[in-house]
């Protein structure tokens, strides 16, 4: 604990640790969006005709759509014409050895605390690091490939495994899905791809780090993860972003395909730049994440959302197959002027499908957040069950918490439970912990981590520690 406190202290003393930009030359397209830009992106990535066409269909559809405005957080108008939709580091590194990677890039990763070298040797985590938009380095790939596991950048998957990409791209989140997913479908630059063959249990946690680098570059990641019949994979995603004055749009899409009896566990720690204390700057994190579960399959989302000016995402599960299971565990922390509108959708289609939702929201300062969730039981989903818990913790008197649960039951056999609570962190709890010798910051951190325990315990070990630290850092100066 004390060791942990020290690092929290150290982290807290700097404004925003990852607030620097790196000077790697970027190869980028002019700002704005048109069919030519979409074609140019596709051409730069040497994509096959069918994918170019898919992008163009998405782009044409996007032109007919209007930006949604039903969400609680309102934001300044996004000028889509000023966004640079493609940016890649000029020296495109090869993947054979670290020596060939631009040294400045490696330094960048060091600053972020992601030393590929160290990660490779010590942690047993395979890292597919995304710098701006092009995947720089994939580790452990050889080891994984011995078991038939494919873990690579999206572009590489398009080149090496076109049949898989063609079959599953857009199968969970179609290009017509929503404004931001459609935009992503048209202009996505890169991302991660993973395929686990039937019956294979992926022997290590797969991990990706994303960050935004070039000024004014929107980031449009696309992740596609397929667990074939009876396969298992645990996937970690963590984000940090450099400090920016102008708002940056992040509209990623994650598609998970869990075939018969497969189990996918997807964990996220999100710490994009939240803007300054008065709400200037910060990332707009508008993400579409959805998993499809076939018969007896399980899709489990765990997220710790602490960054971004606005977080707007609903990692969802389509429980298509009989006996499939969906889970959503979430911690969202907002402070200063941060806003979050997050939750999940559990769509019960198959018989005896089960879902669990545990959402913990923490608001401090002028932070505001909304849990928005849908539990939908389709008419043929006999025997479906859902259990939801939405708890909110308020720190101070200027923050807000809102819970908007939608429940639609089309089958009378469904059992749906929803519990919700809102509490304020109590002065007596803080005084009690301080009386035992803990500082005020540590006391608050301990109470908040206790509040989030049910979610943090779902994270893989090393991520749980990181998430705890992050919550401590984020709460620094938020109380008192």
């Amino acid at each position: 604990m004390a060791e942990q406190n020290e690092s929290i202290q150290a982290l807290a003393e700097q404004e925003y640790k990852h607030g620097w930009t790196s000077n790697v030359d970027a190869d980028q397209l002019p700002p704005g969006l048109s069919e030519d830009i979409v074609r140019a992106i596709s051409a730069k990535k040497n994509e096959p005709e069918w994918l170019t066409e898919w992008r163009l269909r998405a782009y044409r559809h996007w032109l007919k759509m209007t930006e949604p405005d039903w969400q609680k957080p309102k934001h300044a108008k996004i000028e889509y014409d000023k966004i640079i939709y493609y940016s890649a580091p000029k020296k495109k590194p090869t993947v054979s050895s670290l020596d060939e990677v631009d040294p400045e890039l490696l330094e960048t990763f060091e600053k972020l605390g992601i030393s590929l070298d160290e990660q490779k040797r010590l942690s047993g985590v395979a890292v597919d690091a995304v710098f701006d938009s092009v995947s720089v380095k994939t580790t452990f790939r050889e080891e994984l490939s011995k078991q038939g596991i494919v873990f690579c950048s999206f572009s590489e998957a398009v080149a090496d495994h076109p049949e898989l990409v063609k079959k599953y791209l857009g199968s969970v989140v179609p290009y017509t899905d929503n404004y931001f997913a459609t935009l992503n479908s048209a202009v996505f630059s890169d991302g991660s791809f993973c395929y686990i063959p039937p019956g294979v249990r992926c022997p290590m946690e797969l991990s990706t780090y994303f960050r935004i680098n070039s000024a004014g570059t929107g980031q449009f990641e696309r992740t596609l993860l397929i667990a074939d019949e009876g396969a298992y994979v645990s996937y970690l995603e963590g984000c940090t972003a450099p400090q920016r004055d102008e708002n940056q749009l992040h509209a990623a899409v994650v598609e998970l395909v869990a075939l018969k009896g497969a189990h996918i566990k997807y964990s996220t720690v999100q710490n994009w730049y939240p803007g300054d204390k008065d709400g200037k700057g910060g990332v707009y994190n508008f993400v579409t994440k959805r998993g499809m579960a076939s018969e007896n399959a399980k899709v489990s989302w765990t997220q710790v959302e602490t960054g971004s000016a606005i977080t707007w995402k609903y990692p969802s599960c389509v429980l298509k197959g009989d006996n499939s299971v969906g889970e959503f565990y979430s911690v969202a922390l907002t402070r200063d002027c941060q806003m979050a509108d997050t939750g999940t959708k559990m769509i019960h289609i198959g018989k005896n499908t089960r879902s669990t939702i545990i959402s913990k929201g923490i608001s401090a300062g002028r932070g505001d957040q909304t849990y928005r969730g849908l539990v939908q039981i389709m008419p043929r989903a006999t025997g479906a069950r859902n259990y939801s818990v939405c708890d909110s913790l308020l720190l101070g008197s200027q923050c807000g918490a809102h819970t908007v649960p939608y429940i639609e039951s089309g089958n009378s056999s469904a059992v749906i439970e929803h519990e919700a609570s809102t509490s304020k962190i109590s002065d007596e709890q803080i005084f009690f912990l301080r009386q035992r010798g803990l500082s005020e910051e540590d006391a608050v951190s301990m109470i908040v981590n206790g509040f989030c325990k049910d979610v943090l315990s779902e994270l893989p070990m090393e991520f749980a520690v990181e998430a705890q630290k992050l919550l401590g850092v984020k709460l620094e100066g938020a109380v008192g």
Binding site: M1, A2, N5, S426, D427, E428, Q429, F431, F432, L433, R434, Q435, R436, G437, L438, S439, E440, D442, M446, I447, N449, G450, F451, C452, K453, D454
Partner: protein, 255 residues
């Protein structure tokens, strides 16, 4: 002669602008056990909170010296690390935080502030085993969230367990005896008695003489309307048990 462990001088304390203590003075030496008795609303809990540094309690006049130095400017955690412990009348729950994790964090925070090495996991477990025996606390409680779902008696026992683990120099017990059955009361008393030594002092706040049957005090003070109006030996507690507080009120009024 060295300074008293605790010296309270003409202490005036207000909460939300209302004065509750009106000039309280008290001296406690190392090695002594003092009992503070009084009716509801006499200011007993206020006294314990203000010694521990609760931010809602404002000292408007007077001073609190601990080991010869004023502690009024010190944060609650600084006082705790200096060896002041308060066993709460109503122990609070901290959901999701295990008793063990909480105690280890607290103990190591205190050790660190004294420049001592932090206890390793194994050393900590050894200490827990030793102290758990002392206060007869169920090991099941140790791994549960702090006070969450504990019975009233379990919560009080947990306070005494924390007392034993943190081994303070000045231990203040705020009505630890209330709500305890006789067996639990004996356990609590045994725990306190086993910790009595020449360097440590206890301040026991209680309604009833009952606790003092098991923990023999050196001094008994009667708190009335924010002041100590009568002090004496342990016989004073017996007198109070017999006659109630009314005679002291009368005595004070006529004095």
């Amino acid at each position: 002669m060295s300074a008293p462990l605790l010296e309270i001088k003409d202490l005036h304390v207000a909460v939300d602008g209302t004065e509750i203590l009106h000039g309280l003075s008290l001296t406690v030496n190392a090695g002594e056990v003092h009992a503070i008795m009084g009716t509801n609303g006499s200011g007993k809990s206020t006294l314990t909170k203000v010694i521990a540094g609760h931010p809602d309690y404002e000292v408007t006049k007077g001073d609190v010296l601990y080991q010869g130095k004023s502690i009024l400017e010190n944060e609650p955690e600084e006082r705790a690390c200096a060896g002041i412990f308060l066993a709460f009348q109503y122990p609070v729950e901290v959901p999701g935080v295990s008793n063990m994790y909480f105690l280890r964090s607290a103990l190591n925070a205190q050790r660190k502030s004294r420049g001592e090495a932090e206890l390793s996991g194994a050393e900590f477990i050894e200490l827990v085993k030793e102290k758990a025996k002392l206060v007869d606390i169920d090991s099941g409680l140790l791994n549960r969230s702090v006070n969450e779902g504990f019975s009233g008696g379990e919560k009080k026992r947990n306070e005494i367990f924390q007392l034993a683990m943190l081994a303070p120099t000045l231990a203040i017990l705020d009505e630890t005896d209330s709500g305890l059955d006789i067996d639990a009361l004996k356990t609590v008393a045994d725990g306190v008695n086993s910790m009595r030594d020449a360097a440590r002092a206890f301040l026991l706040v209680t309604h009833y003489q009952r606790l003092l049957n098991y923990i023999e005090p050196d001094r008994v003070h009667v708190l009335l309307d924010g002041r100590i109006v009568k002090s004496g030996g342990k016989d004073l507690a017996l007198q109070l048990e017999d006659k109630g507080y009314a005679w002291i009120e009368q005595e004070t009024a006529t004095a």
